[in-house]
């Protein structure tokens, strides 16, 4: 542990210093990109607003109100700020919190009329001689043409400028709250969509499986029983409730059940080979994401074709992602038609592709959609990637 030498030292220390310096410079440049005082004021105002807006994505909570309020207080240059809904003061920012109790009475006219109101020292009085608050401006928060609360700026003397500014800030605040509401609506909608998208077993598969099983009932009752049990397991998996994710291993097990049922129908005509890296078996995938693709390969690739058909299922390790591919050597398809299917997830008889594509994009983002390689007569290969770690997946679990 003693033979240190100077060049190594300089390089190591230099590298770290460079990294730190680069980071610091970048921040600094980003912050100081303007020149004139007007630019500076504009920047300062917008920056404050964006800082405040960041906290309002969750709606009007005491914590969000306090955090956003700090920036708004600086923006208005008032002494203290109260943010209230129609029932109580949600957050108080700044000194003079003894005024908090009287705030609701103060803003009552604003809440009923929806107008900005100014209260001077005759209304806002205080027994504390050190308290600098002697006036207040209240502006309503309006959403959907309904007054949902008010912002009250407390100061030592009210001015027309402050009244205007408070009114503007209240309007901006209302807009932010509406945006938050829209955001929440959107995530609710996405959840609903995801719930609607998952677990669509194709009715064709049910008819065909039951028909295939029926054909074995007399000739080979044991096989028919086994197939029925597979069918029961398959439907239990497909119709289960609970988490929206499963492991690749579970998903492959379900593909196996599915293929056992299909092989009862196609017999030796359906050949399956697998190339699965064991490293990716524990990866979490949206559930029922592979089986529809295999079903698609069997239905569109083999059912309409003469002779033996091969389906190859691969799962390979790509570092941070796992790549999953389903390939058949069937009749292939017109790329234009596939594009149509992927564009209209719901309005298509090809339940597999569009649905899976939509779910993958929904969960992991647009860069994780399906990749389909096909041409008439050339077979089809469908592949997609799944990140090994995605925060959304583990939160949902």
């Amino acid at each position: 542990m003693r033979s240190f030498d100077v060049p190594t030292a300089i390089v190591v220390a230099g590298a770290f210093l460079l990294i730190l310096l680069a980071g610091w410079l970048q921040r600094r440049l980003r912050r100081r990109g303007f020149i004139s005082a007007v630019d500076h004021a504009t920047y300062e105002t917008l920056h404050r607003a964006s800082l405040a807006g960041r906290h309002l994505t969750e709606g009007l909570t005491p914590e969000a109100g306090t955090k956003a309020g700090k920036h708004l207080l600086a923006l208005l240059g008032a002494r203290a700020l109260a943010i209230s809904d129609t029932g109580e003061v949600v957050s108080w920012v700044g000194p003079g919190e003894q005024h908090r109790r009287s705030t609701m009475a103060l803003i009552a006219p604003t809440l009923t009329s929806g107008r900005t109101a100014v209260a001077d020292y005759r209304v806002v009085h205080c027994s504390d001689p050190n308290c600098l608050i002697e006036a207040a401006v209240s502006a309503p928060l309006v959403s959907d043409e309904r007054v949902i609360g008010a912002i009250t700026a407390y100061t030592d003397h009210a001015s027309a400028g402050l009244a205007r500014a408070t009114e503007e800030v209240a309007q901006w605040f209302s807009a932010q709250l509406e945006l938050a509401e829209v955001g929440r609506d959107r995530s609710r909608m996405m959840e609903a969509e995801l719930r609607a998208l998952r677990a669509q077993i194709s009715p064709h598969f049910i008819y065909n499986s039951l028909a295939a099983i029926a054909s074995f009932v007399r000739t080979d009752p044991d096989r028919a029983r086994e197939l029925l049990l597979e069918f029961a397991d398959f439907t239990r998996y497909a119709l289960r409730r609970g988490g929206a994710f499963t492991t690749l291993q579970e998903e492959l097990r379900n593909v196996e059940r599915y293929l056992v049922l299909e092989q009862a129908r196609f017999g030796e005509r359906l050949q399956v080979s697998l190339l699965v890296a064991p490293e990716v078996l524990p990866v979490k995938v949206p559930y029922l994401v592979i089986q529809p693709l295999v079903e698609n390969a069997v239905r569109h690739g083999l059912a309409t074709k003469e002779g033996i058909g091969h389906v190859v299922i691969t799962a390979t390790d790509r570092g941070h992602d796992a790549q999953i591919g389903i390939e058949d050597d069937g009749v292939g398809n017109d790329p234009e038609r596939i594009r149509d299917v992927l564009d209209n997830a719901h309005a298509s008889d090809s339940i597999g592709l569009g649905n899976v594509d939509a779910r993958l994009r929904q969960v992991y983002g647009d860069e994780y959609g399906l990749v389909v390689e096909t041409a008439p007569g050339a077979g089809t290969k469908v592949s997609f990637r799944v990140p090994k770690f995605a925060p959304a997946v583990h939160d949902a679990d």
Binding site: S3, E256, S273, L281, G319, E367
Partner: protein, 509 residues
Amino acid sequence: MTSTLSLAAVSLVCLLTLVVGALGLRLSRATSDFYVAGRTVSPRLNASAIGGEYLSAASFLGVAGLIYDFGVDQLWLPVGYTLGYLVLLVMVAAPMRRSGAYTLPDFAEARLQSRRIRLLASVLVVSIGWLYLLPQFHAASLVLRTVAGVPPWVGGTIVAVVVTVAVGAGGMRSITFVQALQYWIKLTALAVPAGILLAVWWRLGHPEPVVSDAWRLALTPRDTGDHPAYRTYSVLLALCLGTMGLPHVLVRYYTNPDGVGARRTTVNVLLLLGMFYVLPPVYGVLGRVFLPDPPGSGVDSIVLRLPGLVVGGVRADVLTAVLAGGAFAALLSTASGVAMSVTGVLDQSVMRPWLQRITGGDAGVGGGFRLAAIAAVAVPYAVSWLTEPLSLATMVGLAFTIAASTFAPLLILGVWWRRLSRRGAAAGLTVGAVTATGSIGAALVLGSPSGWLGALLANPAAWTVPLATVVAVVVSLATPGSVPAGTTRLLVRLHTPEGVDVRRSRPTD
């Protein structure tokens, strides 16, 4: 003759690495049987793979060299390298697996729900990875220079090219089966020559090494102002806690299906490492017997020189070739493992966003990954040109020290302490990184001053780790507001076995 055989062994190892890497999956896993395809990696195989990736040239050559040079105090090195997995087993293995995180930045993000801390962790992963790659290049140069007399730049260049190709060609290096094979290659390459050399030594009347007291007795200072006790404990602490912060170790745990699998794997790793680490001391002591005077510099090559000193002729050539091949296997597997992790992080946090910005999202995935692979290898390779080689084990020790001062507090507090806040974690990481790199850098610049200052600067883990932990705790307690929402729920998941359904207290059907 020596050079021909050894060069053949080294080429064979390089070629095998590339070929088996490319074919590995096809060789082992092409099947039409779902039962075979659905089998997860067994803890034993995964443990071999971890061993294969973990045992680097520093373990293979460096530990023997240090024991040869400094004596019994350095016996703590192999103990430390192994103990790290015991800490991992007890503290983080299973919860980390249950968190679902693949890399250290993933864990930081999952636990603290902050992109910024993720970024901080990514920067640290890249720094630690680069620092870890550096000695691998030096070791390659050393091996080829010793066995074949080629110029120093050849070895490093070969490793850099092979690793870049292997990693850039699509992450094939991460195949468990291949890495597991590497462990057994290393063990054989070190154990068989060791057995033969021991037998020869025994036949020669088993002479004892002639050594000074400082070599033979534990914790004896070699010169005044040395603090062997402090240094030893500091190194031990760095190794114990640093293992969990090495980027290429934790990604292997993702392969386990569950937390129990992760624990079993770790127990197996302890066993395999224990087996391996018996061997370097054997070489160190035999070196003292047959070459009593250390040659000033280049003690790291003692393992490779020993066969020539003990037996002569063709037998020595064969043994040297086996050792050289083993050392190269160690180099390549570790270097590709680390390069793979660094590449992944660079790809995810630098290349992909960058490519997306300049191409508007049209770039393929592979391009960025390959660029990242080149960057991951090229930077430490370039630095290896600029720096004089330190002792191999010392350089690896630096990486361990930084890992121990940054990720160990993050992981342990993250797994076991509910009140860890974002600010606390960020402060702990920053303080750990700055003090660890700063003091090591200062020690290097000052040329390792004697006395307490030198000891504290050169082996800082004993104070940087507690400092980083205390800072993380104090800042967390001071900022309860930035404790991420849902922490309790997450911790319940981390510590609950997978079979238990927490949401429903009644048993499931």
